[in-house]
């Protein structure tokens, strides 16, 4: 595999695009060839005009790219050539737009890592139900591998196309996955409460993300059939009725905290939970298990301990009085919940050490 990988980002102005840039500008094996935008005012501008924190870290300029706009034929063709010459392209555009781009660039042969929801669900009906539209190219679904290395490492190594999971789904999946390995649990049902930060809403302006109205809320924003649930059910192999979740927007910018409650038919002990979590994650570079019985800082997952890193902390406890077991997880929705999975998958696809660059992202505790 070539030591230097030529890569590009489609949709580099959103929060996912920004987070990709923050990781890739200092990735030893990556040469960033292009970063696109649909905004005419940014075409040709330095990246750091739009992302001031990147001043001094890249001299790259934005390329205009919008397949939906015929009048931009020359600009589009220029980017298509850049894509063709690159080894991998990251897509950081909304669902729907992503599928249309994939349909167009497939013939170029470049590896694709998509951060949208378009190719996560194997079942086009699930896609229709949650995204309320027909999937533009269902025949391509089977070519994409679900970009969660902890569950699909070997497939990702061999993959040409990877679809990265949603941030909430990553948290729910990684918390619940070990339970699917416990024989004694049988057909358990899990109910999640997921608490999320404002950066999940993305860069687009909206009243619900307006600072004066977003601060100090605990807002239930998705009551039941959240689109990320379809991924959790697919990845945990559980029928819809056994996995439910409610999401809350809470007071933070970056971070997801997730708790899953299970009421098993017969009691499951801490020992068994430790066994299941160790066998699932013991060797994982980016999963840390926090399940200390003694309360205190760090005894259980909290985004405060992972923010700015690719870690997903997982944990559990047993509530004997109610015969309840709880699984928990915490991650940074822009890193392990988004571009962390993308870059981790890319490292695997190109035979690099999986933690390249990602290991250098040390979680910073005093980082609001």
């Amino acid at each position: 595999m070539a030591h230097l990988i030529e890569a590009g980002i489609i949709g580099a102005t959103g929060y996912t695009g920004l987070s990709l840039l923050e990781v890739l500008v200092r990735h030893p094996n990556i040469e960033l060839k292009f970063a696109t935008t649909r905004r005419g005012d940014l075409a040709g501008e330095y990246i750091y005009r739009e992302h001031p924190n990147l001043l001094g870290l890249t001299e790259l300029q934005f390329s205009l790219f919008d397949l939906g706009n015929e009048s931009l034929k020359d600009a589009n063709d220029r980017v298509l050539r850049l894509i063709g010459d690159s080894d991998v392209v990251f897509l950081a555009v909304p669902s729907g737009a992503s599928a249309n781009i994939v349909k167009e660039i497939r013939r170029l042969g470049t590896r694709i890592i998509d951060t949208s929801a378009d190719f996560r669900l194997k079942d086009p009906d699930a896609y229709r139900r949650f995204y309320e539209r027909e999937h533009p190219c269902p025949e391509l679904l089977k070519e994409f591998v679900y970009g969660l290395p902890e569950l699909h490492r070997e497939d990702i190594r061999k993959a040409k196309y990877v679809a990265c999971p949603g941030c909430n789904s990553t948290a729910m999946i990684l918390a619940g996955y070990p339970l699917t390995k416990i024989q004694g649990l049988g057909n358990f049902r899990i109910v999640y409460d997921v608490m999320t930060g404002s950066s999940e809403a993305g860069a687009e302006l909206s009243r619900s993300s307006h600072h004066a109205e977003r601060t100090g809320v605990v807002r239930p924003y998705s009551l039941k059939e959240h689109r990320h649930l379809a991924e959790v059910r697919q990845e945990l192999g559980m029928e819809p009725s056994r996995v439910c979740a409610t999401m809350f927007a809470v007071g933070m910018v970056r971070g997801v905290e997730c708790i899953g409650h299970v009421f098993p038919d017969q009691p499951i002990g801490e020992k068994e939970l430790w066994r299941a979590f160790r066998s699932a994650y013991g060797e994982e570079p980016f999963i840390r298990i926090r399940a200390r019985k003694v309360p205190g800082p760090g005894s259980l997952p909290d985004p405060k301990f992972v923010r700015g890193s690719n870690y997903c902390d997982v944990g559990f406890f047993v509530d004997e009085v109610c015969g309840r077991i709880c699984v928990l997880s915490a991650l940074d929705n822009l890193l392990k919940g988004d571009v962390g999975n993308a870059v981790q998958s890319m490292n695997l696809m190109f035979g690099l050490d999986e933690g390249t660059r990602l290991r250098d992202l040390v979680p910073s505790y005093l980082y609001e």
Partner: protein
């Protein structure tokens, strides 16, 4: 006129001069309804197709 909300049994105040097709919403559960039939003081409602602004994140 008062009519029972089909969704939650709440009381919906239908203006006396309401016309067919007019949209009324239930003060409790917020569901919106279209006035389907009016016979004297008897009013029938049917759900109105309405897309709420999704406060999604």
């Amino acid at each position: 006129m008062k009519v029972k909300c089909p969704e939650c049994d709440g009381d919906i105040n239908v203006p006396d001069d309401a016309v067919l097709g007019e949209i009324v919403s239930c003060p409790d559960c917020g569901q919106e309804f279209e006035i389907h039939k009016i016979q004297g003081s008897h009013v029938e409602l049917k759900p109105a197709e309405v897309e709420g602004e999704d406060w999604g994140e």
